[in-house]
């Protein structure tokens, strides 16, 4: 059992506050149960420790520099206080002020939420990852340093806390030990959000200091705003890729596949996560094939960001979020489409359909819909000739948190699977009680320092366990199995998890999206669409 921590320990000048030890983590089911066979962890070197903040848990996600002078130390503290004040004023926090205030003022400390956190449980109940550790810390800081009279009564109300530069730089790392899956908010009797507090901390660090993981900001939202996609694809590159995908799909299926670009007045503007074009091209290819076969009037957009539905600002920065959401709406406006349909990407769902409501008002309020809903309509309409026996292998379903728990899109994907996958079985728990893949909130694309070891050993641990247990009746490699994960980010994390633990070699579990299974069931395609090759 990891040693227990007090919230006030966060400011102590110890070399490292908490330890993550492989033998204390939640045990994995066979064949991953031998600790000595699990991949080792990369250690942060003494030289790196002198340079970057690694004193929270020996893991580095952001790599914020250690202050070199007393002035730099003061800057961290003063900047943090300035940012904290902004989070609590309506002029500066136009997105989440009300929810934040509720979460600050009304937590009854019942701790109902803590057992629901996959990171806390997977870590072997390590206090540093307890979802209320971070929230409690945040409340104490607000109570002591922001609320009127806090200097005298703040600690009496909420508990002891000392704000110094260590508190600040450790909090920054701690804001990147939660995937924002919101399972805890779901368990809270009054729906308060630890994830929301995590999000607001990330926002403070990005908007006040410019501190954020480079994969999400410099090489993420900034790149998308500059060239059109966080993958670095400009419009020429994406059009070249889609042309190749169309040809490849036509060869594979024997059907003519032709994606449509920039068609004015189309019913549907389909926006994928652009990572699909590069890493899982069969996914956008399958979409094109299905939409054509169903006679849907649809188009892709080659406008800046019009072909990349990602909006990483959702995870850490309201301004970046708003910039990208506006580009998505403008792409739809320009083409005068009836609605935007979002491909298999969870955070793009949340960003454009839910959170963007705050800015896409009036003229910019283009209807937005999940692809899962449209796909259900198509599959149930009978427009496609489907033979479920073509999917005659065990299939389980991963629920992306943003689509399912956040938006309540639970049944469309299941109705489809019940129709096309005779050996579909649920993993437990599922639906709105699902577990995050462990790659949520940007983790799937973050691998700096030793962060990848952490996200595959700790934040992804519960998901791996669930997947393995869902196939407990057919564990061996002699039975090929399919994990349907209709989200690009989840797929990236699952791919990395499977590689790390050797899941493909040991168990022959393939992962992929939902549309691939639909196309695989289509009687018009000449050979199986799903290739049993891991990639």
């Amino acid at each position: 059992m990891p040693k227990s921590l007090k919230v006030s320990d966060i400011s102590h000048p110890v070399e490292q506050l908490a330890q993550v030890r492989p033998d204390e983590l939640m045990p994995l089911p066979p064949p991953y149960d031998k600790i000595e066979e699990q991949p080792g962890w990369k250690e942060i070197s003494p030289a790196q420790r002198q340079k970057y903040e690694a004193s929270l848990d020996g893991v580095v996600a952001v790599g914020v520099p250690i202050p070199a002078t007393a002035e730099e130390e003061d800057r961290l503290v003063e900047g943090f206080l300035s940012g904290l004040k902004k989070l609590l004023t309506k002029e500066n926090n136009w997105t989440f002020l009300q929810q934040l205030m509720l979460s600050i003022d009304h937590c009854a400390r019942c701790q109902n939420c803590i057992e629901t956190c996959p990171i806390y449980v997977s870590s072997g109940y390590n206090d540093i990852y307890r979802p209320t550790f971070r929230s409690d810390l945040f409340r104490r800081l607000v109570s002591k340093y922001i609320k009127p009279g806090g200097k005298y009564f703040g600690e009496l109300k909420q508990g002891a806390i000392e704000l110094n530069w260590r508190t600040v730089s450790r909090l920054l790392e701690l804001a990147y030990r939660c995937t924002l899956c919101r399972r805890c908010a779901h368990a809270c009797p009054i729906g308060l959000g630890n994830a929301l507090i995590t999000h607001e901390l990330r926002k403070l660090f990005s908007m006040e200091f410019g501190y954020s993981p480079k994969e999400i900001h410099d090489k993420g939202s900034m790149l998308q705003l500059k060239v059109g996609s966080s993958t670095g694809m400009n419009r020429l590159a994406v059009m070249d890729n889609v042309e190749f995908i169309d040809e490849d799909m036509s060869d594979l299926t024997g059907l003519s596949v032709k994606s449509v670009w920039d068609k004015e007045g189309a019913d549907v503007l389909l926006i994928h996560n652009a990572g699909e074009f590069i890493s899982w091209p069969e996914n956008p290819g399958a979409f094109a094939l299905i939409l054509e076969a169903a006679g849907i009037s649809w188009t892709l957009s080659s406008e800046l960001a019009g072909y990349d539905g990602i909006n990483y600002g959702l995870w850490y920065d309201d301004a970046q979020f708003a910039r990208v959401a506006l580009l998505h709406a403008q792409a739809a406006k320009k083409l005068k489409v009836k609605k935007i349909v979002i491909g298999e990407c969870g955070h793009a769902h949340k960003a454009l359909t839910v959170i963007a409501d705050r800015i896409l008002t009036g003229d910019l309020s283009v209807p937005r819909e999940s692809a899962l809903v449209l796909l259900r309509e198509i599959v149930m309409s009978g427009k496609l000739k489907l033979d479920p026996s073509r999917n005659d292998f065990p299939i389980t379903l991963h629920d992306p948190c943003n689509m399912v728990r956040l938006m309540g899109i639970v049944e469309p994907q299941r109705e489809i699977l019940r129709k096309i996958a005779p050996k579909f079985r649920e993993m437990e728990p599922h639906g709105v009680y699902n577990y995050c893949c462990g790659g949520g909130s940007g983790f799937a694309i973050m691998s700096p320092f030793n962060f990848q070891d952490w996200r595959l050993s700790v934040s992804g641990r519960m998901k791996l366990k669930q997947i393995v247990e869902a196939f407990a009746d057919c564990p061996g490699p002699e039975t090929p199995k399919y994990l349907c994960a209709p989200c690009s980010n989840c797929k990236g994390q699952i791919r990395d998890l499977f590689r790390y633990y050797g899941v493909w070699e040991k168990q022959r579990i393939l992962y992929g999206g939902l549309v691939e299974l639909i196309v695989n069931a289509m009687v018009d395609i000449k050979e199986p669409f799903i290739k049993w090759e891991f990639h």
Partner: protein, 105 residues
């Protein structure tokens, strides 16, 4: 930013060993980067892949899709892994001096 040194080569690389400034790439750098990938010598097959990657990168500013790389160079994914044990993205692209892929890939 880590410095990578090999014989006369000295370049800045990221934590995964990818070159920070692709403009500094040359054949000697390729040999140097290959040494980190367990590749001792660059054969004609290696160069065919490297050259394709570089031409594509010069045109589009990103690495090609893996399926496209296979189809247009004629090497199967397995053959690419035989040539570059870390695979096309982490192995071949690194040796060819491309920046590390970004986004949800």
């Amino acid at each position: 930013m880590p410095k990578f040194e090999w014989q006369e080569v000295s370049i800045d690389v990221d934590e995964d060993g990818f070159i920070e400034d692709p403009a500094l790439w040359n054949e000697q750098v390729a040999l140097a980067l290959a040494s980190t990938e367990g590749v001792d010598a660059l054969t004609e097959d290696h160069w065919k892949l490297i050259n394709y990657l570089r031409e594509y990168y010069a045109k589009f500013g990103i690495a090609p899709m893996i399926r496209k790389l296979c189809k247009e160079t004629g090497y199967s994914l397995k053959e690419i892994y035989d040539l570059f044990p870390s695979g096309p993205a982490k192995g071949a692209c690194k040796v060819a001096g491309l920046a590390k892929p970004t986004g949800c890939v």
